[in-house]
Symmetry: C4
Subunit: 192 residues, 4 copies
């Protein structure tokens, strides 16, 4: 393993760690109720929003990890700029346990807007990593395989940013269904 | 290391991270008591259920990790479908700190049912990964070594699903003893 | 990298994850005070015991990781028995954020006894891994390098178990000084 | 991969884990408010200090990781002394979720002093690792590439230690702007 490859592997290992921890911290948002035993059933059924937020949050961080994994598997070396753009992405993914937690606890448009902004900006950071990798020639020979990457990244960011006015003008629930639709399409595309 | 192998290694690294974090978060369910010093002894002896839940939860996540480790050690490459099935498994394992925590805090059949459902469905996700790996030809030459894998997976899922009616019709404690028995058998099989 | 080596690497990766998470969760035991700004100074100075427990807990988990790292660097393959003995060790290390937290919050002999028992039994689990590795021929050619390993492990376990009666008969503080002395000796031996 | 290289890789893996977990735990300091839905907007706008502390804390741990990554990429083997110096650094980085949390919750000079001391001493530990690596001949042929490393480390430590009297004599806010300035310069140097 060359020294350049090794540097890249450590960026991967650190990123995998942050993705794995952020995704696993999501469960802490589903608080264990403190109620008498006979009220437990109704307390648990009140956790529906928390569980839905867990599903959305897990799928979103999972997809960011998957995108990261595919993008980095095409790279052959790292540089300072890539590490910084990656750090920006990780800082935004690291915030998601907070914004996902808000989404589970509250119903208003503000929490939808915050989560959508978090995901949308993180998607732009994803695009920045891609631009840096291309501009600085960090990709190997397989660089051309995903030509539509930037277009798809832009589309994903657009859907999340668009869901902010939808949450305020129409309803927060519609915005969340839009996300689930997008997640479903991405899953189907990878499955099929 | 080939590029296909490297992609698989990152799936392993991410999965190991989620398993390791979920298993280590279990300890947060054993709350440090906030009592005067002279009541500490009795407060600690009231933590017996939390500690039992820790033991069950640790053994169960540990066995899922071990199964994952054996299954993935036979694979030679990854694909989108495998990553998605794996993500489903990780999402269910990531929930276990919550369902294990409920098990330690409450005694009724409902928490036994939730934990059993969590483990049972995660076992089915394990089976799905196996089916995807076989159907998409992701296994190397050693693929035939564990022919009984699916049968054993089905049996394990069945025991957990069966413990749900047992918890309601007989008693939650019997259901938990059944799990401990199953865990003990699996441990003995790997030890002997 | 052979398939046997790869299986061993995943045991290492999972173990490193659990050690790293357990050691980093220790900081959560140092609670951020919720007091008015002008009482912060005295609230912070009341955290002395928490910080001492952090130092002890970090050094102890760090030394377990270091011992694990040295023991596993001599292995050339893994088996079911090794994984189970390792899981026992990880389960005991995973408990340490709880027992370390008790140590910081309370002063009596009971928390010293619990922490000492946790560390002592984990040390025995370390010894069990060593015995399994030797009995099942999992070590490579460098196996003879640390002949005194078991004797040292036994001595370390003995010191921790011995500190339990010391905490009850003499004082909890003396027991903790004994640990710090042991940690200091081990550090000096590795440094010098 | 040689056995010496493998030992070094495990030190890297463990360190990456601690850095990744510490950086991801920072988000837990941004507490999800528990207020009625219509007071959520003002509750969220009160989290500005927590978010600023998150940004500072993330950038600082990120830079420590980056420095660690560059320093260790030059090493060809590990020894006991290096592991201990590294453990000292990790113990100080592991404290940062606590000191960063204080920084977000309170405004006075004492929390600025504690955070600055934490970062300053951790920077010295970084320098110690460098000294150990050079003194014990752990670096490979690329050892001379960063001749100014120690000088830069000393400068970084000096800025943080200097911010302590600034927080007391001038204002805590000025000290924090000084950090942000330093972080910005380091980022620009790596980006440009």
């Amino acid at each position: 393993m060359s020294s350049e490859r090794r540097e890249l592997e450590r960026v991967n290992a650190f990123s995998d760690g942050v993705f794995a921890i952020a995704i696993t911290l999501l469960v802490l948002n589903i608080g264990i109720p403190s109620v008498p035993e006979d009220e437990l059933g109704s307390a648990l059924s009140g956790l529906g929003d928390d569980v839905l937020a867990y599903v959305i949050g897990f799928a979103v961080i999972g997809l960011f990890w998957f995108g990261h994994h595919r993008l980095f598997s095409r790279l052959v070396r790292s540089n300072g700029r890539l590490v910084l753009a990656n750090m920006l992405l990780l800082g935004l993914v690291g915030l998601m346990p907070f914004t996902t937690g808000l989404l589970g606890r509250y119903d208003g448009p503000i929490v939808v807007a915050l989560y959508a902004a978090n995901v949308g900006i993180a998607t732009l950071a994803d695009g920045l990593i891609h631009v840096v990798a291309r501009a600085d020639g960090l990709e190997g020979e397989r660089g051309g395989r995903e030509r539509h990457f930037l277009a798809l990244t832009g589309l994903r960011a657009a859907v999340f940013f668009l869901s902010i006015p939808i949450a305020y003008l129409a309803s927060p629930a519609i915005a969340q269904w839009l996300w689930l639709l997008l997640i479903g399409i991405v899953f189907l595309r990878h499955w099929g």
